[in-house]
């Protein structure tokens, strides 16, 4: 069999015939099944992320609270001194914190995802698993952090004697849009950073700008003119989502369906784009990372 060709290794061609060159084909159903089978792995990776992050620290999980609370204090003390911010009668710390929670979820997941493939290259080079579990696990880790940070919101409610309205029923729907957008950005970014390492540093700056380009410290309506709001919603779905959280939970209104719809569609596009790009680039990860 092979023995025959053994005597003449020169008989092997210099190039593989083009018809057998490997092309990655994406089977959505198979890929989704595989991802579903790896759900426990996402859990383990999340646990690992959180444990290894807070291991050897004194404050441990308190750190997930400290970042948004500090920002909230900074906004309350300084930002309000220089500009009057229209909150619609809501105590400003609560107003800011309701914006900061989705924002810190998004920025936490995105900044971690930019490094996740490179950081895990030891694992990636040894064991097979659907690669998207790594960026997804950064999203779930950020979700756990955000859940911890919610404690501070409850404290704020209690201190200010403020009660959330019945609008909380909208929270799950708004969260879905938020998570979709975050997952899309994380998938795209984690794959791109493997090839363009500069992104790792670029992301830090973009996130800092994003904090002010998103209605976290202020309200959407006071800064973006009505006519431009649909365009804004398409570019930055976080805006309508944060505005939606405030409108429903704090004010008790319904969210602005038009803007939220645009944000939802935009988020779906991000997820689809992120997934396809990620799967395309996946084949080269272990050659580079």
């Amino acid at each position: 069999m092979v023995e025959g060709s053994a005597s003449s290794p020169a008989g092997v061609a210099d190039q593989p015939p083009p018809e057998i060159v490997f092309r990655r084909r994406l089977h959505l159903v198979t890929a989704m099944k595989e991802l579903w089978a790896a759900r426990e792995l996402v859990g383990t990776l999340t646990e690992r992320n959180l444990r290894s992050r807070y291991k050897q620290t004194f404050l441990g999980f308190a750190w997930s609270l400290i970042t948004p609370v500090t920002l909230m204090v900074v906004f309350t003390v300084f930002l309000r001194r220089v500009a009057h911010i229209e909150t619609g009668g809501i105590p400003y710390p609560i107003f800011a914190y309701v914006g900061l929670l989705p924002w810190s979820f998004f920025s936490g997941a995105v900044s971690a995802s930019s490094q996740v493939i490179v950081q895990n290259n030891a694992l990636l080079n040894k064991i097979y698993c659907p690669r998207e579990v790594f960026p997804i696990s950064t999203v779930t880790s950020a979700a756990v952090d955000t859940a911890c940070a919610m404690v501070a919101l409850l404290v704020l409610f209690a201190v200010n004697g403020f009660m959330p309205t019945a609008g909380v029923v909208w929270v799950p729907m708004l969260t879905v849009v938020l998570v979709l957008f975050t997952v899309g950005v994380c998938l795209l970014l984690s794959a791109l950073t493997v090839y363009v390492r500069d992104l790792r540093y670029g992301v830090t700056i973009i996130l800092q700008l994003g904090l002010f380009a998103t209605p976290v410290a202020y309200s959407l309506n006071t800064v973006v003119p009505k006519a431009w709001q649909p365009v804004y919603a398409a570019c930055n779905p976080l805006g309508p989502v944060i505005q939606g959280f405030r409108d429903t939970v704090l004010v008790g209104d319904q969210p602005e369906y038009g803007l939220l719809g645009i944000a939802a569609v935009s988020s779906l596009v991000w997820v689809a784009l992120g997934y396809v790009v990620f799967k395309r680039m996946e084949t080269g990860f272990s050659d580079v990372a």
Partner: protein, 394 residues
């Protein structure tokens, strides 16, 4: 549809960038601007790590993978466990794949031993319950019961390796891919690993085993693939292929006389009784002639091996070589304790901290005699030493 535990590689090719430019944007930009600066380049150059490799492995088969450094063994393993993607061809691996690719496979330094076992289990697709039920066996085997709750970065390298092997071998994958595990670990643990590999084999797990320890490959695997510079040179019965590989390696080492040394070897002859061909349990005579321009005094060492530099038999004697006077040395073995086969005569002259004549193969010769008894797979025989025995079974 192939059954679980089978592997198939069909015309697999894999290439890497030859100039080691990373495929990152920065690397591409640098390479591109350089090419513009020099001339109309010949385009990208690639180094082929694997060329047209095809083979099939059935469930429960034990396959060894041998080849020199850089011949593509690890790349092939990585492609088999789907960590890397081939450039061309098809790979089909059925069932759960457990891989121990680098020594610390699957071991995350920041987590404790316990968490690592859990993580690796999830990566293999096992549920927490499945991992839990094997946990004690794994810890016992790896001999780390004192340290399960310690972070793995504080483990010794031997402990990390043992844990890695234990996890890969006890989580009962359908296919077990092992790369050079036996490099770390003491002798008794190596033996334990080989025993464990035989055990998983007997349970129907397919094992692909990469090692430079040819004796271990021969004793564990029934079939061996020999990769040479990315090409599958030979695929067949392990004794046959390992033998061919050994001879191939020696061709590289090249039998001959070292030239630029203080003492030169100008003649090396090996004869059996009365100038005949050497034979098992018969006398053997080695005749050497040494020369030197400056003269020298040292320990003359003569060894016999199957090819590698570690001899099976080694004898030595003090010699003094006068300047420009050839020195003839005759070394007679009363009885040659080696089984039939091909052997190599290694010669060197050594002072305390200096090699007057470097250790090198000086001649090869054939020994006539009976072959050895076939060793059962549980036993790794180190050298082909023949022993005359009288059995009484009552």
């Amino acid at each position: 549809m192939l059954p679980d535990g089978s592997l198939r590689a069909d015309r697999v090719w894999k290439r890497f960038r030859a100039e080691r430019v990373p495929r990152t944007a920065r690397g591409r930009y640098d390479a591109w601007s350089k090419r513009l600066a020099t001339s109309r380049g010949s385009g990208r150059s690639y180094r082929w790590a694997l060329r047209d490799v095809s083979f099939d492995v059935g469930p429960g088969e034990a396959v060894g993978l041998v080849g020199r450094n850089g011949s593509g063994k690890s790349t092939l393993l990585k492609i088999l466990c789907r960590v890397m993607y081939q450039h061309a061809g098809e790979v089909d691996v059925r069932g759960r794949v457990g891989a121990l690719i680098e020594v610390r496979a699957g071991i995350h330094p920041e987590l404790t031993g316990r968490e690592n076992v859990q993580l690796y289990g999830s990566l293999l697709g096992l549920s927490r319950r499945d991992v839990q039920s094997r946990f004690d066996d794994i810890i016992d085997f790896a001999e780390v019961s004192q340290a399960v709750d310690r972070q793995v970065k504080f483990y010794s390298s031997g402990m990390q390796m043992r844990l890695g092997f234990a996890v890969a071998a006890f989580l009962e994958p359908n296919v077990l891919l092992i790369d050079e595990v036996l490099a770390v670990g003491d002798a008794s643990f190596q033996q334990k690993c080989l025993d464990r590999m035989r055990h998983v084999l007997s349970q129907g797990t397919t094992v692909v085993f990469v090692s430079h320890d040819l004796a271990a490959v021969e004793s564990t695997c029934s079939r061996v693939l020999w990769l040479d510079d990315g090409i599958l040179r030979q695929d067949g019965d392990s004794r046959e292929v390992v033998g061919a590989y050994r001879r191939g390696v020696e061709e590289m080492a090249e039998v001959g006389f070292a030239a630029d040394s203080e003492i030169r070897l100008v003649k090396a002859e090996v004869d059996g009784p009365g100038g005949a061909v050497p034979a098992t349990d018969e006398p053997l005579e080695v005749r050497l002639r040494l020369e030197s321009d400056v003269g020298g005094k040292g320990l003359l060492v003569v060894g016999i091996s199957e090819g590698p530099a570690s001899p099976i038999v080694m004898v030595s004697n003090q010699v003094v070589v006068e300047p420009r006077t050839p020195l003839d040395v005759r070394c007679a073995f009363e009885r040659l304790p080696l089984a039939g086969g091909r052997y190599y005569l290694w010669v060197g002259v050594f002072q305390r901290n200096r090699d007057l004549l470097p250790w090198h193969p000086a001649a090869s010769f054939e020994v006539f005699g009976p072959g050895l008894d076939k060793a059962p797979s549980a036993i790794v025989r180190l050298g082909p030493v023949a022993a005359k025995t009288i059995w009484e079974v009552t």
